[in-house]
């Protein structure tokens, strides 16, 4: 009996890839384990091995073909299996489709909002953090021409721009140099800046974080990449006890200009130890600033500001957003202020506060709410600490209702802080108790069906908005 060879998935988020090369041709005989082809995505290359033995009777996808869907038939062995793909699912599925819940799905549609995000909205001047460098531009200044780039490119461009500008800035972390970044964020930086400024580290988070903090104290400006923020837990003592507190303990003598960055939160199907949001962990600590970009413009503008900031900054990225494109200003000096939230969508009936990937979810919910006659205002926090409470309070004074959205757990989460500060500053303006939408209060399960249930959905946000507006 013949068999078919299917396009394999090579990462948790892959839906399609390029068939780069055939190493066998029609008529060749293969045995299990033989390498038959090479496939590529923007992140990785993989050899496809034969799992059955037989003769390749037909190659259906020629080499060099881009955008080959995961699980589509790429070749036939011994005449194919006449439609009976062994054990294969009926529909092509990839891990990206079955995983990550609705948040991931919505992230894929984020492009539309990207244009809005990049254009910016008129904003009032707020109390800027005292540490903002004088060169920092007006909040939400009009930056002119934009171009669609991925969040991954935006982050890389921000680091490259700051490294060109200041030779004290350097990047260190696991796989940042030769490998070009575990998630390809540092692509090309080794080539441009050399091994002195783009430095590969062994798997020693506690040690190299301490080393970077020490270098920062002496006046260098390290960027530390954590492969994911889950691994920053190995180093959290140095971040909190050394980086965050030394300025205070030294009576102002020893500041530490340093950026800790990397993907935060759930990716897709990577289970409890690799899927967690650390926003509230770090936001708890005086002496740190915590930034969480959503769009490419956020990523680029805020990372540039973070690198210039004289303080320790926790910069929380999101793996699922890395490949998403948004419009981003092309102006060479483009930068965004830390400590300023952004109104992504104006509305009058309810204020929805979100950060990072959940901004996309909130905007989607706002669209659905609009169809039902509820006009939601969506605030992208951009910075979590210091919290831009002025923008939030101004909005709540207008809408009288508050919904917060985060991927992490509700208990002691960012939503708690936002709601509490709103209560402190605008209690009399609230017409309903604030509602938190958050990840369920469980460790992240691996199973596809359970993972989906554990993450916030558009409907959760819609329901929350309806409950605070007392609509059914």
């Amino acid at each position: 009996m013949g068999a078919t060879i299917l396009m394999p998935a090579l990462s948790p988020t892959m839906t399609e890839g390029k068939l780069a090369r055939w190493l066998k041709k029609e008529g060749d005989t293969v045995a299990a384990g033989d390498v038959i082809a090479e496939i590529e995505t923007d992140k990785a290359t993989m050899e496809v091995e034969a799992v059955d033995e037989g003769e390749i009777t037909k190659i259906l996808v020629p080499e060099g073909t881009e955008g080959v869907q995961v699980n589509s038939v790429i070749a036939e062995l011994d005449g194919g299996d006449a439609g009976h793909a062994a054990h294969g699912p009926e529909q092509p599925v990839s891990n990206a489709v079955q995983a990550g819940g609705e948040t991931a799905q919505v992230a894929k549609e984020a492009e539309d909002y990207g244009a809005v995000a990049a254009r910016g909205t008129a904003r009032k001047e707020g109390a800027a953090a005292e540490t903002q460098p004088a060169a920092s531009p007006e909040p939400e200044k009009e930056w002119g021409e934009t171009k669609s780039i991925t969040v991954r490119e935006a982050l890389r461009d921000a680091m490259a721009a700051e490294m060109r500008r200041d030779d004290k800035v350097f990047l260190m972390g696991e796989e940042v140099a030769q490998y070009q970044g575990a998630y390809k964020v540092s692509q090309g930086l080794l080539d441009e800046f050399g091994p002195k400024r783009v430095v590969d580290m062994p798997i020693t988070e506690h040690g190299f974080t301490g080393m970077a903090v020490g270098a920062g104290m002496s006046g260098l400006r390290p960027i530390v990449e954590f492969m994911t923020f889950n691994f920053s837990m190995q180093a959290i003592d140095q971040i909190i006890n050394s980086a965050a507190k030394t300025l205070y303990m030294s009576g102002g003598q020893l500041g530490c200009p340093i950026v800790f960055r990397g993907p935060n939160g759930a990716a897709a199907r990577v289970a409890a130890q690799h899927s967690q949001c650390y926003a509230s962990w770090y936001a708890h600590v005086p002496g740190l600033k915590v930034v969480a970009p959503w769009s490419s413009a956020d990523a680029k503008g805020l990372l540039r500001a973070a690198i210039r900031d004289p303080n320790p900054i926790i910069f929380l990225e999101n793996e699922i957003l890395y490949g998403q494109s948004f419009e981003c200003p092309t102006d060479e000096d483009f930068i965004l202020p830390i400590g300023k939230a952004k109104i992504e969508r104006k509305g009058k009936d309810v204020t929805i506060v979100a950060f990072s990937i959940e901004v996309g979810l909130a905007l989607k919910a706002a669209e659905k709410l609009a169809e039902q006659g509820i006009d939601a205002e969506v605030i992208n926090l951009r910075t979590i600490r210091p919290l831009d409470i002025d923008t939030i309070v101004a909005s709540v004074k207008k809408t009288n209702r508050l919904v917060t959205v985060e991927e992490g757990w509700a208990f002691s989460g960012i939503g708690c802080e936002v709601a509490m500060q709103v209560i402190e500053h605008a209690f009399d303006h609230l017409d309903a108790p604030p509602v938190r939408v958050a990840g369920l209060d469980v460790p992240m399960p691996y199973a596809a069906n359970l993972e989906k249930l554990a993450l916030p959905t558009v409907d959760h946000v819609v329901d929350a908005a309806k409950s605070v507006t007392y609509k059914k």
Partner: protein
Amino acid sequence: MVQAAKAGPTKRRGKATPTPTSAATSNTAGGMTQEQLLQAYRDMLLIRRFEEKAGQLYGMGLIGGFCHLYIGQEAVVVGMQTCLQPGDQVITSYRDHGHMLATGMESRGVMAELTGRSGGYSKGKGGSMHMFSREKGFYGGHGIVGAQVSLGAGLAFANMYRNDGTVCLTYYGDGAANQGQVFESYNLAALLKLPVVFVIENNKYGMGTSAERASASKDRSKDGTPWGIPGEQVDGMDVQAVREAGLRAVAHCREGKGPYILEMKTYRYRGHSMSDPAKYRTREEVQKMREQHDPIETLRKILLDGGLDEGKIKTVDDDVKRIVADAAEFAQTSPEPDEKELWTDILLEAR
């Protein structure tokens, strides 16, 4: 089919002492009888075929997230497991499928965990990196590089505390061997004379970073020297060499002399996880290891040279194929976990 799943090597547990051999039935190389060698061949082949199937299911989207295959390293766990007795423990990282099969965990339960189904060892809640079996002495399945090393020292601490003569095998990679808590564990284990064998699986790379680029220590078996921990470098592609060194290490622990380090020189054929740029090593390097040092092929030749009937090997091959096919079938038909499982196993009821 249940029959096939049970017929595997899974029921067998290793013995601590080399079995005395009768000249008629044995090839005494490495202290292993022909029978033991055939069993080792079967156990390694089961891991190899299991992992190939897992790779295939991943490609079909039936397994998600991270999936780290053990292909190429089979001789390490199979050889070490033959040195253990019931009650001994094993703990390792996320590259754990081989360890689980070696401790006797069922192929079906492991594969069903990979597909996130209720028939999996963690009811689908742990996935590839997080499986456990108290019954088989397997303590996981850990995703944070290096964290299992302190945990392994803790399992050995409990062994010392209970004074029951059991030993813990703590496995970790060449990359993990650089983590600070590994060195803290060396000191603790030596200080408290803990019965733990530290097994470094040096497959030459931690993700895309070669061991040379990650550590100034070139002979990892000597990493315990400051604390007086004896160590050996072992050909981890040779199951007999692994067993010989394993027996020495385990005996040292059982005699109450404290920890022991084994640096297994091994190699992974596949990418770090399913997603791997494959640019940090050459195709030739991988090809050379596969062709000249494959632990399964080598043992197969030894068996045939020792006069074993080719038909017997074929029977083992077929058997293994059947077990893996059955596991794959089970992993696709076992239902997804009940939605209620989302809320179970977070805390235990205090009584």
